[in-house]
Amino acid sequence: MRLNLVLELLDVPGQLLDALNPIGRLGANIVAVIHQRDVKTERGTIPVQITIEGDKQTLNQVLKVLEDDGIQIMQVDGIVRKEKITTIMVGNIVDQDLKDTVNLLNKVEGVMVADLDLKISDNPEKSASRIMFEAELGRKKEAMAKIKEIGKQKGFLVINEV
């Protein structure tokens, strides 16, 4: 059977090779790779379409290894695997250690911080940040509740999607 994947790779050397390596190693055939470096997502990553061939078990193994390696699989046979979550947090974001906040958020299961935008106010207490997450399909609600909890612990006002 064949599987069409859309991966999202960082725009740094060696990424494509890292993604393709386990496919061959596990015994699946690579039928096609469409890789356009000048087409970027809004997050600056590069979408790569790959078609692979093999028996069901091998293909499942490939998906698992890719995910374990931290490679973002956006679509499988046209079905979206990731959902976007946008959240805005209001508060003293810089003083509350931005890096620590992102780390805490990344620890939420099935969620990765994909983009972050800051707007510092004259009054630091009123600064705002917009954080975009990628969440595994079906985990959005649960992830939003956890994101809210982390924001609250830090003393931020968390504005989630409806």
């Binding site: 946008t86 959240t87 805005i88 209001v90 935008d117 707007k119 510092i120 106010s121 009123k126 600064s127 705002a128 940040s129 917009r130 975009m132 006002l157 504005i159 989630n160 999607e161 409806v162």
Partner: protein
């Protein structure tokens, strides 16, 4: 139908005005003769078993500020409870100011009327948010009608809409903008890029926000409505303390700008679902049903058969709110 109004503020006066406007048409169409036999405010009451003149009543209130100054039939210093004892009536319209501390005196008025076998229509959120079960139970026990469409969303149809129009559907959740004042403030902030304090001042000058805006801006008013919807539409058994409440006073122009960059607006949303009762600022997509401006209210009901149904309407206003009270009165009449 002999009607008694307790409370003669903006909503009470709206009811009197609507009676003046619609009395003849309602008589013609439904055979319902609306006879206002008593109206009471803080000063006392006006009582006339033959029916008060609603125009004269409105003028008396306008000129003197006191309903008890009503010519010949004014009674000074009489309390709401005493009026209910004194007067022979069929239906109580309870529209005294909302009190979310202990729901009084509205709760006592409503219970007394029910126990006396009278139907009750109210827009008062206090007793509904704090003692819903007690009121619904008392109404059932005394076999009287209890209607409160005007308590949520003013003129926006939602409670009777869910009970009657969507009666075959199970309502799974409701999301909505349930407070007009905060929607006005957030809409203006998004449009003008102005600060929260500045916009609140403007809203106060325009009479959209009250001098003490706490109930609106801190989400308390919306939380009452969440409780009413949860109890009456989702058949839950909850009270005000079960709602997680966050208002809009911390919303900054910066956060609105960031939201806009991604195509979002910030709105104060009430969420009513079996796993969550919440009032909080949320991100809604521009162009979505929640992206309404000004003082409008909106609610989306998620149902099992009809999927999502959205209603929009004016959430406040004297005559607008009275329209919901009038429709409750007519539906009580039809059920007789």
């Amino acid at each position: 139908m002999k009607i008694c109004i307790l409370g003669f503020g903006s909503v009470g006066q709206g009811v009197a005005r609507v009676f003046s406007m619609k009395r003849d048409i309602i008589k013609q169409e439904y055979g319902l003769d609306l006879k206002l036999v008593a109206a009471a405010d803080r000063s006392g009451a006006a009582i006339d078993p033959d029916g008060l003149d609603t125009d004269l009543l409105l003028n008396t209130k306008k000129d003197t500020g006191k309903i008890s100054e009503y010519p010949k039939h004014g009674v000074k210093g009489i309390s709401g409870m005493e009026v209910l004892d004194e007067v022979d009536y069929d239906c109580l319209i309870e529209v005294t100011p909302t009190n979310i501390e202990d729901a009084e005196p509205a709760r006592s008025h409503i219970l007394k009327a029910m126990k006396d076998g009278k139907n009750v229509v109210t827009s008062n959120k206090g007793p509904l948010a704090l003692s819903f079960k007690e009121l619904a139970h008392t109404a059932a026990l005394n076999k009287v009608q209890f209607k409160y469409e005007a308590s949520v969303g003013g003129a926006m149809p939602i409670i009777n809409f869910a009970h009657e129009t969507l009666s075959g559907c199970k309502i799974e959740s409701i999301y909505g903008i349930l407070n007009g004042t905060t929607n006005y403030i957030l809409s203006r902030m998004a449009k003008e890029g102005s600060s929260y304090d500045q916009t609140l001042n403007e809203a106060q000058e325009m009479g959209i926000a009250e001098t003490d805006p706490t109930q609106d801006v801190e989400g308390e008013d919306a939380a009452c409505k969440v409780v009413i919807l949860a109890n009456s539409i989702l058949n839950m058994d909850v009270t005000y303390d079960d709602v997680e409440v966050k208002g809009i006073s911390q919303i900054t122009p910066e956060s609105i700008t960031l939201a806009k960059k991604e195509g979002y607006l910030i709105k104060l949303i009430g969420e009513v679902s079996p796993d969550s009762l919440e009032v909080s600022p949320r991100l809604v997509k521009e162009g979505s049903p929640f992206a309404v401006e000004g003082t409008l209210n909106v609610a989306t009901l998620k149902t099992d058969l009809a999927d999502e149904v959205t209603v929009v309407g004016k959430g406040a206003g004297s005559v607008e709110t009275a329209s919901a009270i009038l429709s409750d009165i007519i539906s009580i009449w039809k059920m007789k």
